[in-house]
């Protein structure tokens, strides 16, 4: 089977949707020359009217996309640095997200915000390394974080077809992941449905984005001691609570690994919801960035702040010891 990289899966999704639907167009900084590589080849195929380079005016072009969506188009806005989302939080949350309700159902805002290279890219320091997906889930913006090439393709396609605003976080840690993929089998992945990557009986590990690959590696390494089920929510809002509940109801134990900050992060919400629904055999645990983390520059410091395999291993072992 041919190999497909996560990055090329995103490109393929954009190309397929632009080819399928005239109303889809791309907007962003340096997308003409594909500075992120994700929009490579699209200018040549679709022309400058549908692959529009913008000035450095994040707030204006994000709201420009809102207006274009109100007028019937389906914009995809690329942000090459996740921290730019802080700059346009206002435009996404206060306008795009609120328009349908505030207008009493008159308006639809089908914009996709694509953030390739979200999270730490190592060495990009304080203002380029955030992973703010929990913020968007908190305010209720549809938020997806694919882990694999097939899911990156399928969730980006679904995001573009979705009638509400969607933020697609493509973690830097996943961008170079490659997988054997049957191209003919690439298909939309429904928003709001999780995926069990590995079945297990003793503990459910919920892993977000690129951490799915770490969780799978840890599960494999611990295979002779503990049977780990790896659950990938794929969408953080709306979350597949039923899918996760079914998993934890079988295993009775829960560990969450999440590359966002601990306080008010998605890991806390996952644990809270599961304990509302399931009687656990042991206290749940979470592995996250520290409270209010800012990633330091030096590689050793950067890694020290990110959730890692050692911490996840320790959390699983602790959970297994607790009764």
């Amino acid at each position: 089977m041919p190999r497909l990289s996560y990055r090329k899966a995103l490109t393929r999704a954009l190309a397929d949707e632009m080819g399928r639907d005239e109303s889809v167009f791309l907007l962003g900084e340096d997308i003409r020359v594909a500075a992120s590589n994700v929009t490579a080849g699209l200018l040549k195929r679709f022309g400058p009217d549908r692959v529009r380079d913008t000035p450095l005016s994040e707030q204006a072009f994000t709201s420009f996309a809102t207006g274009a969506a109100l007028a019937g188009l389906r914009p995809v806005v690329e942000f090459q640095i996740p921290s730019l989302l802080f700059l346009v939080f206002e435009q996404i949350v206060n306008h795009a997200h609120k328009f349908p309700l505030m207008t009493g159902g008159q308006a639809e805002v089908p914009v996709t915000y694509l953030v390739p290279g979200s999270g730490s890219r190592t060495g990009w320091a304080g203002q380029h390394s955030d992973h703010p997906y929990s913020l968007f889930a908190h305010v209720g913006v549809t938020t997806v974080v694919p882990a694999t090439p097939a899911d990156a393709y399928g969730l980006l396609v679904s995001a573009i077809r979705h009638v509400d605003p969607v933020v697609v976080f493509a973690p830097a840690g996943a961008m170079d992941v490659r997988a054997d993929v049957d191209f003919a089998a690439l298909a939309p992945v429904p928003i709001g449905r999780g995926r069990v990557h590995r079945a297990g009986d003793d503990v459910t590990v919920v892993a977000v984005g690129h951490l799915v690959h770490d969780a799978l590696a840890v599960a494999e390494a611990l295979a002779d001691q503990v049977s780990v089920e790896v659950f990938d929510p794929r969408t953080l809002h709306p979350f597949d609570w039923d899918g996760l509940t079914a998993s934890v109801a079988r295993t009775g134990r829960l560990v969450v690994v999440d590359d966002s900050n601990r306080s008010c992060g998605i890991a806390g919400e996952i644990i809270a919801t599961v304990v509302e629904r399931v009687r656990l055999l042991a206290p749940p645990r979470r592995v996250t960035r520290p409270d209010g983390a800012v990633l330091p520059f030096a590689p050793a410091l950067d890694r020290a702040v990110q959730p890692g395999r050692e911490q996840l291993t320790a959390a699983i072992q602790l959970t297994m010891k607790d009764e």
Partner: protein, 323 residues
């Protein structure tokens, strides 16, 4: 009678005036909760600009937005029902005074975030023109908004991409209580000229002067010109917000208010009509607003069970906050 007939222009100004006076009364009576930002004194701008627009042209406005929505042709009865939070309101009671929108008449929404609506309108007009429509847009904002970066970014995008948007600055001299001299370095037309955008200053108290300036700008824009700016000099007769009376803000000298009120757009336009015509319009406006009030007060309040309706255009049902 054509759309820019003096009688029709007077009717619009008078309708907005009496709508606002009645709305202020309803706030004082406790029937409208949350209060309003009265447009009293500024009616000539909305009336004059919209008289020079076509029905299919698009408009966005501000928190002081009733006049824009009414001038563009929204039903006063449904507008009043919206202010009263009724199910029959333009926004089904979900938006209220600051978010009144009527997409059917090209009003993409009043916007409560100062300076936010210009970029949204730019995107909407660009999208519609890409589909072959020759429509234009007009966005209203106050003098305070010219210090908001997002609006200046929108100036740049509109000028760069030659999007026919008329930026209408309603300079009433104050951003809430901050005088324009204390807030705006340079000049308001200078902001536009910096982006290569034609700019004019017009007497906002004279509806016909506003209409004529708008008509000239719209003709150029529709013929393929880029965006333009009009600074309409006006005066806010009443408070920034109806709440202001309760807190007794003191920032305008009584002599200044008296001088401002002496140039009343209702009287300026009314003087262009015969006494009989003016009396007939006044009577017709009262009858319209009597019927509007009757309709609005007789309309049902929304069912609390529907508080989350339209939160997602996709029909996603959010989890409730209780239990």
């Amino acid at each position: 009678m054509t759309r820019d007939d003096p009688v029709r222009l007077y009717r619009t100004v008078r309708l907005i005036r009496r709508f606002e006076e009645r709305a202020v009364d309803l706030v004082r009576a406790g029937a409208i909760v949350g209060g309003i930002h009265p447009y009293l004194g500024q009616e000539g701008i909305a009336a004059g600009v919209c008289a020079a627009l076509r029905d299919d042209d698009l408009v966005t406005g501000t928190h002081r937005g009733h006049g824009h929505v009414l001038a563009k042709g929204a039903d006063p009865a449904r507008m009043l029902a919206e202010l009263l939070g009724r199910e029959t309101g333009l926004n089904r009671g979900r938006g209220g005074s600051m978010h009144a929108a009527d997409l059917a008449v090209g009003v993409l929404g009043a916007n409560a975030i100062v300076g936010a609506a210009g970029a949204i309108l730019t995107g909407a007009v660009w999208a519609r023109r890409r589909r072959g429509d020759d429509l234009v847009g007009a966005t209203f904002f106050g003098d305070g908004a010219v210090n908001e970066g997002m609006l200046l970014e929108a100036f740049n995008l509109a000028a760069l991409w030659r999007v026919p948007v008329l930026f209408v600055c309603e300079n009433n001299g104050y951003a809430t209580t901050m005088p324009v001299e204390g807030a705006v370095a340079g000049t308001i037309p200078g902001r536009a000229e910096a982006f290569g955008m034609p700019a004019a200053v017009v007497d906002g108290q004279d509806p016909e002067a506003v209409r004529d300036a708008t008509a000239a700008a719209v003709a150029r824009m529709r013929a393929g010109g880029g965006p333009e700016l009009i600074e309409a000099r006006t005066y806010r007769f009443d408070a920034h917000h109806t709440f202001e009376h309760a807190v007794r803000l003191d920032y305008r000298a009584p002599q200044e208010v008296a001088a401002g009120r002496s140039r009343d757009p209702v009287d300026i336009q009314g003087a262009r009509l015969s006494g009989a015509d003016r009396a007939a319009v006044d009577a017709e406006v009262e009858a319209t607003l009597d019927a509007a009030l009757e309709f609005a007060l007789a309309s049902p309040e929304p069912d609390p069970a529907g508080a989350l309706e339209h939160l997602y255009a996709s029909g996603l049902v959010a989890r409730t906050g209780g239990g």
